[in-house]
């Protein structure tokens, strides 16, 4: 399995480089943001109308914010090497606990959204590809345009009003009792449009290929042709695309998370920026960056397994 090893080594090196780059960049950017950092942290801690010069001074003092920047960054890097992410400047909670809690919530949401997007999007795409230009195909175009045109905030609100306020099927906000359904549906439906499009085109292309025609000619039932040849080959273009979508999704959950009061990473990232909670910000960015590397690795591996072509192997044989 040298190719597998190659993928893992390459991605591992990338992860390390990304980690160092992202942390340093994050630190520099936060320091360059306008506004006094001690005041911002005090605002996060004590609420916006309780901040005054005394509170800011006590924050500055407690956190040693007047030390030279290289010292502050150096300390963070040293802690990171000991796998200690420190404590949040605002909540005083260990960053690791906080970020992993938020990450879990976001991953849950992202995975369910992708599942919904794939079921809805790929479903529509496969049906549309059956007869290009037919009714289902035209419907799929309408669907793609529709869900892409409606901003997630509005779509979320519509779903909330219909499924939650009117029909009482799911709670509008929160983590308990099916609270994940509406945010996941919002994100999933938003994504399903493009997935439908990509699936449709991939399936149309594969269906027109010589090997599918051959499979049909040799008498395989159409269902088997679809599963073993069409879908597998279409998946080779669909999976990397899904990888990209997953990344977009993680970055795009901010609006949806705040609408549905879902305490995820997007939500915490916004607060961390607002309050200059540097350790949380650095850790969140780090986790997101590593997650992107991980997703790309998984996509590489999945394609490696899916692609029936003998790519990379000696073709001379």
């Amino acid at each position: 399995m040298t190719r597998l090893g190659g993928v893992i080594a390459r991605r591992g090196a990338q992860a390390l480089a990304v980690a160092i780059g992202v942390s340093a960049l994050c630190f520099v950017i936060t320091q360059r943001l306008p506004g006094d950092i001690a005041y911002r942290i005090a605002a996060g801690r004590y609420g916006y109308d309780m901040v005054d010069a005394d509170a800011a001074a006590s924050v500055r003092d407690e956190l040693g914010l007047d030390r030279p920047l290289w010292q502050q960054l150096g300390e963070w890097v040293a802690d990171l090497l000991r796998l200690d992410l420190g404590r949040s400047l605002v909540t005083s909670q260990p960053v690791l606990t906080e970020v992993s809690h938020y990450l879990a919530a976001t991953l849950q949401l992202a995975v369910l959204s992708i599942v919904i997007a794939v079921i809805v999007g790929a479903g529509i795409g496969v049906v549309a590809a059956r007869r290009p230009g037919g009714f289902a195909d035209r419907f799929s175009s309408l669907w793609v345009a529709g869900v892409r045109a409606v901003p997630p905030f509005l779509l979320g609100l519509l779903l909330m009003i219909v499924l939650s306020a009117q029909l009482g099927l799911f709670p509008a906000v929160g983590h308990g009792d099916g609270g994940i359904v509406l945010p996941a549906l919002t994100l999933g439906l938003s994504l399903s449009g493009l997935i439908a499009r990509v699936t449709r085109d991939a399936v149309v292309e594969v269906r027109g290929s010589a090997y599918v025609e051959f499979a049909l000619t040799k008498g395989l039932p159409e269902r088997w042709v679809l599963v073993r040849h069409v879908l597998r080959n279409a998946a080779v273009s669909l999976v990397p695309y899904l990888g990209v979508q997953f990344v977009v999704l993680i970055e795009g959950v901010v609006v949806v998370e705040s609408l549905f009061a879902w305490d995820g990473l997007g939500h915490s990232l916004v607060h961390a920026v607002f309050w200059r909670d540097i350790p949380v910000l650095q850790a969140s960015a780090l986790v997101l960056a590593l997650l992107i590397v991980l997703v790309n690795t998984l996509v590489d591996l999945a394609v490696l397994g899916l692609d029936p072509r003998p790519r990379g192997r000696a073709v001379t044989a």
């Binding site: 306008p34 006094d36 901040v51 939650s164 799911f170 906000v173 929160g174 983590h175």
Partner: protein, 513 residues
Amino acid sequence: MITRPHLRGAAALAAVALAATACGSSQSAASDALRIAGPFEIHSLEPSSDGYFFTRLHVTETLVTADVEGNLVPGLATAWSADEANKIWTFELADGVEFHDGKPMTPENVVAVLQKMAADAASPLADVGVETIRADGSSVVIELSEPNVSVPATLSHYSTGILAPSSYDADGKVEKVIGTGPYEVAEVSLPSRIETVRVADWRGVEPDVEKVSFQAVGRAESRAVMATGGQADVVFGLEPAGRERVESTDGVDMVSALQPRTILMKMNAADPALKDVRVRQAISMALDRESIAEAVLREKDIAATQLLTPTLADWDAELEPLTYDAEQAKALLAEAGWKAGADGTVAKDGKPLTLELLTYPDRPELPALATAIQAELKKVGVQVDVEVTNSSEVPAKHGDGSLQMALVAKSFALISDPLPTVADTFAEGGSDWGTMGWSDPAVDEAVAALMAGAEGEEAAQHRRTIVTTAQEQLPLVPVSWYRMNAAVSDRVEGFQIDALETSWRITDIELAG
């Protein structure tokens, strides 16, 4: 034929995925808990940062508390008194108080908590000049370096809620909130959820509501859906559009109360343009406050006519109300040397009058109000640049002197007595959320006399001096008052909004059905 079975399969899968995550849904079934939703998140368990959640939810109690009208009433202290000089305060503690961990509350426990807060810059107890805090028999004695009449009111502040020693971890940080109130914490999930249950055998009258849940919901749109969809019993902080939807929905009503909070423009009276009182008066007169309040807040009657809300009865001196007069505003500007130029902006010595107005989005109406003010001032030739930023920029820019104007929502009763806040607002040399570059000897004298314990007619006279001078000099230009609102479901009986938000008065509520 490939589609039909697959379509059906996909639909079934989708249904399964949804059902799997929705297990045990159907939240509209009446729950036995009182469900409260509000805009603010719980960032920390430390009493000086977000302690108000736990006092409002009746988990922690303070030595002194306030009734619905804002009058001080006994909390964990049954009585209090001061020496002649208002420098030594004695608080007699109630008998038989137990923490939720079953341990009795001792005067030493109370002393430890108060000492911690006296050293915490974010607690108002740090500002009263505490010298020592000690236990004396069954009471707690606080000695001050300066006379201060507001100690009981300060001890009604949420930061001074009494926590059990077992609340703290080894570093002295709060890891669990263990208080003495009629409700104890069942679960806290930072930053958005708190659940409490009624304490069995609490020392006082047992409340009717057995369980309470608080959910922080950042978006006002989402809160409105919760209120109209019956997913919360009490929803705080709705925007005008949400309020209108609630009003047209059966089974839920809007309840509101004027708060001692004023949306005002903090003016830098040391600024070259703003140091002229005529310019400040012109700015005030250029504001059609009623129209602004109607357009932005959809409540015409909360347009401010003076700095302090009339509900602060002691401070209401029946002042000449601030009025709208654009022509007079232009005349005042002209008198101060600001003449209308070709482009409509007034100018002096060839320099146009351009001012920066800072505000922050924590209260969503502030940026909207700021742009309304910008439009009003443009009509009299004053160019305003609105800058929406973090709230902490206001004290930060106050500190370095670069602030010109800031639109802020200032509470005048962070504790039950407005006096310390008023004193801070008009402090000599200015204060972060108060005046800037402005002072008036008569006001300084009046504040000092009140802080030293002036009483009766003498005190009323001092208060009148302060509010009258503020109305004439306008170091702070009031824009609008503030009405706290809540959407309340019909199953909640006995809900009252407490103007000071000391507590959510859950103990007075009964849940029907």
